[in-house]
Amino acid sequence: MGSNMAEAHPVGFQWVMEAKARGAKVIHIDPRFTRTSALADQHVTLRAGTDIAFLGGVINYVLTHDLHFREYVQSYTNATFLLSERYRDTEDLDGLFSGYDPLTASYDSSSWAYESVAAPERPGRRDKEQAASSRHGAGGPTVEGHAGEIAADLAMEHPRSVLQVLKRHFCRYTPEAVERICGVPRDLFLDVCRAWTANSGREHTTALVYSVGWTQHSVGAQYIRAGSIVQLLLGNIGRPGGGIYALRGHASIQGSTDIPTLFNLLPGYLPMPDTSHESLAAYLESISGRNQKGFWGNADAYTVSLLKEYFGEAATAENDYCFDHLPRINGDHGTYRTAMDMVDGKVFGYFLLGQNPAVGSAHGRLQRLGMANLDWLVVRDLTMIESATFWQDAPEIETGEIVPERCRTEVFFFPAASHVEKSGTFTQTQRMLQWRDQAVAPAGDQRSELWFFHQLALRLKARLAASTDPRDRPVQDLAWDYAADGDEPSSADVLRHINGIDLNTGRTVSGYTDLRADGSTSCGCWIYSGVYADEVNQARRRTPRSECGPYDAEWGWTWPMNRRVLYNRASADPQGRPWSARKALVWWDEERGEWTGDDIPDFERTKPPDYRPPEGASGPEALRGDDPFIMMSDGKAWLFAPAGLADGPLPTHYEPHESPMRNVLYGQQASPVRKVYGRPDNPSNPAPPEAHSDVFPYVFTAARLTEHHTAGGMSRQLPYLSELQPELFVEVAPELAAERGLRHLDWAHVITSRTAVDARVVVTDRMAPLLLDGRVVHQVWMPYHWGSVGLTTGDVVNDLLGVVVDPNVFIQESKVLTCDVRPGRRPRGPDLLAYVADYRHRAGITPRTGTRVVTAGDTDRPEHTEPCEWPEDPS
């Protein structure tokens, strides 16, 4: 679902075909009929942005027909736990959960806690502003007291048990509701439910695959939650052939979150400290909590070891290991906020490192206007990209909004080294690090980022060496003594330091359990610890597949600890025996007194299944022998999230921010905590209950092609790929073509309240009209790879988007919006601005449109606009 795997991850898709050849049934559930659908056994068309309604329907089907894997659910999930009496569901509050504050559009989640656990009341605003949920990272949020006994009903019949709460929450997600919301005929929907449940249980498992078709929504994190709930109820997590696969888009996009270049994270999903963290102790308490289970209990060792890697000798117990050297976040410092701050003149310098926001980010126009208002911009890339040449050829040059002679931004373009001109690791989509050897030296001024940041670091350190200003201390104290490889640091030595080093012996540690909180170890990223165990670069291993076992353990290295299937303790029953012989993966070997199997056990190797923690235990010690979810604070997988999510403990169907439909389930239309940026330069198309949504009557979605790559910097310049996909197009259904007078291969343009873009028309029944609640709704699709530079050029599709983001991780809603489509080319130059302004006028759009995020009941409906000036409403 939400993935066109055959198109976007083609070589990975061979394994789906392999499974199909061996008898697996492949079902593709997606708004479009694509290359993936063509190869699947069944394709189900649904409206973009309604997957939670669909999955909620599956959950309802499973629970009403008692098809869940009872023993698995009972033992390994929190289904049995009782919730607090204070909890109120969306069923009670017209689409809101308890704890909502309309003024800040955020939740106080304290009423979502377990009955026996006291959760402190805390306004949700701070968490929302920092995308705090993503800072819980791999570990889940802290919930104090989870190490002890939690009030539970093993029969799962208590009305406040998680399973019963789940049942009630999803009771209205019937096949009829799915049909009305998603446009999926109920028979087709029931086919999917039957296939999914029949192929799950002791003897069978079902795998679920998703990509950014799921994530890029204002409720993106809840999409994944909904998929997880289905897979947990059916016992498909931690077992061979099961799981949830996130197919990621870039060579090392997984790596760049594990070792984050993200504002709210430090390596290994440790949170970036905020203003509430007065000391290291306060920070650590906020991660590992008090009296809770699991491996986040050792966060002190991970953090101190990171600080030792950052600040070396300067980091001591006396100075809190230089914890105060770390800058503090206190709000939204995400990339879209930053782009708006550039427009507002609050940011002076910008580095672009292999990314092309002028084409690739939502609201390209905002991005370019931001870049045109900087002191300086550094672009490092293989080729000239639109983000480097915006002052010459941005669409805003034509409209007169950017004039080169009046654009003050100083631009440095540094040519980058390619993947064969440097050595290092990428982390691919299965968390596997694969090392690349350097093949040739880069030419001319081409250099790696390693070289560039090494040079910056050395020169900045030299410049600040004599400073007495306390703000320069962190730079002075920064440990930067990696082994040299010519005039750059050795990437292998950097990887060694990421792995971690025992500072007494100078040798690499063998894994994160070796890390200490007393300053005797250093480690750049605790979850990567083990990648350089025994002083061997494990990511460089290339034992051919013919010589490895079934899980290819000697090809590359997978975090954590080379475990290929996460939470694989769940592949065995509570007593440690495989659920069935067919589905054995790891099991308890009584004779040897250890866990063993085809994969490396994701569990303490010698902890027996019947282990029960002693009174008062916490951290890893508090995990029972049948608690497979070792990173969770209660050792269980969460069907219901008692904490940690900004937008509710359970997934709920909300309409997208821009939608032609009123929510048929609740008064609450869209996510009540989505983050809107109400500004004149970020208008929204109206959605019900606002008036005039008919001005933009069609559902729009965008995606990739096999032959191009994201913003096109690595593909539109290549002759082969440009020839294979030479031009931007828009796919429309024959019925829509008739309605709007569009002709196959002629020009058309797509319009939103932001801009209009040209494309060639492809009339195809791959885009099927949907029958929704008695009306026909059309969907329109475009690939988004084009821009003004390269062998094939075209309008920037992302210019159609505005910025609205989910409150958990600040992912933008770029997979669904509304639009109009008209035949012929769009107006050019200043006429384009007038044309789009006219659309805004007809739709009654002001910066307030779409910012009254709460629509449930008859509470106050405050606007969430930015404090800035805008012209009077046109109405």
């Binding site: 991850h9 083609p10 197919l247 990621r248 760049s256 979150t257 070792i259 270049t261 993200l262 430090l266 390596p267 203003t275 800058p327 995400g334 609050k346 940011v347 002076f348 310098g349 580095f351 672009l352 490192l353 292999g354 990314q355 690739g360 002191d375 490092r380 002052w391 080169p404 440095f412 540094f414 993947h419 290092g424 691919q428 596997m432 694969q434 690349r436 050897d437 093949a439 040739v440 030419a443 001024d445 910056l456 020169r459 900045l460 410049r463 730079v475 920064l478 290339r542 013919s546 490895c548 090809w555 096999t706 790559h709 690595m714 593909s715 310049q717 790929l721 294979l724 390269g790 991780v809």
Partner: protein, 189 residues
């Protein structure tokens, strides 16, 4: 040239009499194609690599001759890709060796209408000056309540999902020490 040899040059004859009845191999070979050999054969060395596009992580073999990349192919040993590459991975030799690659630093002065040349070393020094200036201009010691912030809002960075882990590590490390926290990339989590 004997008659047999002369007739043997005729592909249809070879197809009818030889081991290639479908005419897709030796029967169709000309003197020129018989003399061709794959670019990979003359390589001085073969280097293990990974495709730089999507996150499937297909394994590549990079063939190098005279310090130039002469071919990039899939590595059949890989349990991920079994030697296959998609159109992007197959085009990566063009990505690496194509004339679209920029080789020298380019510089556009404020209000300029043209790119100019700039020496690499000078350019890095100029960036160092500007980092320190922007850092100072955007510096914040504390919030209104007096809580320490120790950061600069003057510098932002975007990108990382196409880079190596080692590079991302040093980028985050250096920016953090500078107090620059608006560090972001293609990913959200």
């Amino acid at each position: 040239m004997g008659v047999k040899q002369w007739i043997g040059q005729w592909p249809v004859y070879r197809q009818l009499t030889g081991t290639d009845p479908l005419g897709r191999g030796s029967a169709a070979q000309s003197a020129r194609s018989a003399g061709l050999e794959p670019r990979t054969r003359g390589a001085d060395r073969v280097v293990d690599s990974v495709c730089p596009y999507c996150a499937v992580g297909c394994a590549q073999r990079v063939y190098v001759k005279d310090e130039q990349v002469v071919q990039i192919e899939g590595n059949p040993d890989s349990p991920i890709s079994r030697g296959r590459l998609c159109p992007k991975g197959s085009a990566s030799k063009q990505l690496v060796t194509g004339k679209q690659r920029v080789r020298t630093v380019r510089y556009r002065a404020p209000y300029g209408t043209q790119w100019q040349d700039l020496d690499l070393d000078t350019a890095v020094d100029m960036v160092v000056d500007r980092v320190l200036d922007a850092r100072r201009k955007g510096w914040q010691d504390a919030d209104e309540a007096g809580n320490p912030l120790r950061r600069t809002m003057g510098i932002a960075s975007l990108g990382g999902a196409t880079l190596d882990n080692e590079e991302n590590y040093l980028i985050k490390k250096l920016f953090t020490a500078l107090g620059a926290l608006q560090v972001e990339n293609q990913a959200r989590i």
